[in-house]
Symmetry: C2
């Protein structure tokens, strides 16, 4: 369209590519730990069941990090991915809903390391307020949402409430200024412009497994 290159050139990194960047990061972290200095796309593909061409394409989105004839420098590429993914500094999050799932997520290792930190759980139930998770993350009153967000520079909201309450909570998170939301409630949320929402729907995953089992039963291997 436009004859001049725009900033949207670099913008075209698909959701799928982004997800794979995280995977690559994890692979590189592993290799670095093993003391490996250098890795080729072919080796990465072999060891982690990926496709080498895809790895190269994905990485090429951000510039040229490899050396022809050699491959990629493990530590350098890892650092590059950390930066591209924006986890070179810590991002704070709150969890709405201090039920089983919310509590478990609050203590989940992956949510409290390498760039993320759960500041608090919020709940409307006065009985829960004042408690903490096993790891000591406090449960605060839901009404304090705006305060908590402002005071702790929270950037990410995690929805762990029932399906019925999810849309309301979602809208409140957006109103509180959050632009990144991870949703565990089984609903089709109405989205807001400029706000990224990722939904993890546990039920859908189970049903997809059931579908597979059904096919096997019906002899459709």
């Amino acid at each position: 369209m436009s004859p001049v290159p725009t900033s949207s050139d670099r913008d075209v990194v698909s959701e799928l590519t982004t997800g794979r960047l995280s995977v690559y990061l994890r692979c590189l972290t592993f290799l670095e730990l093993q003391g490996q200095k250098t890795v080729s796309s072919a080796e990465l593909a072999d060891r982690f069941h990926l496709n080498s061409a895809q790895i190269r394409k994905d990485l090429a989105c951000f510039g040229e990090f490899g050396t022809r004839g050699v491959g990629y420098d493990v530590s350098q590429l890892k650092q590059q991915l950390v930066q591209e993914l924006g986890i070179d500094r810590t991002r704070n999050a709150v969890i709405i809903g201090a039920g089983n799932l919310g509590m478990a997520l609050a203590d989940y290792a992956g949510f409290n390391a390498n760039g993320f930190h759960i500041v608090a759980l919020l709940d409307i139930d006065p009985v829960k307020v004042g408690r903490t998770s096993r790891q000591g993350i406090p449960v605060l009153a839901y009404e304090q949402l705006d305060d908590v967000v402002r005071r702790n520079r929270v950037e990410i909201g995690i929805i762990a409430v029932t399906a019925t309450a999810a849309q309301i909570v979602h809208d409140a998170l957006v109103a509180a200024g959050l632009r990144a939301i991870l949703n565990f409630a089984p609903v089709q949320l109405r989205l807001h412009e400029g706000v990224k929402v990722k939904s993890v729907d546990l039920r859908i995953n189970l049903e997809s497994l059931s579908f597979h089992l059904k096919k096997v039963e019906d002899g459709m291997t």
Copy 2:
């Protein structure tokens, strides 16, 4: 290839389509509860932020359920989806790993209703064995895996252990005869032929949100 139509004709239901079938089922359940008798693909699309053509295409995989000029019968289509997804009977599951996440999943409402039932949690830690989740689901010894699977007709395995243990557990589940696995460990599992594995990677979702925030910061909206 083959000139005669094979059973694989109906086999070509993509992963993405399957996921959407679950979504449609949820929408229909909602509409049925509201007492709505009939619904058109356009109305479904409007109300739940979907695409009407896609809905029709997806549903058409299983035959013709709609009535031209009218739409779909809510209850009938719902029942059809329940059947296609294979949740017209209950499927039993075990969770491996009785940590925070495993415990939370065991009590998760969506995992103990409408076609699914968590039979037990299994753990190698003797301290945990003998306890139960809040809802009373027992924690048994991991060594009893084969027994538990056989006795309870378990069809689904849920991996809620650390990344390091995940592959071993996965292989044990397959050896125990399971053909459907839901994995919460952040690893690229080596897969077995004929075994369906769905992975839920919480970390990837967070990183994808961070990536979005980074882009916003850098003014790439």
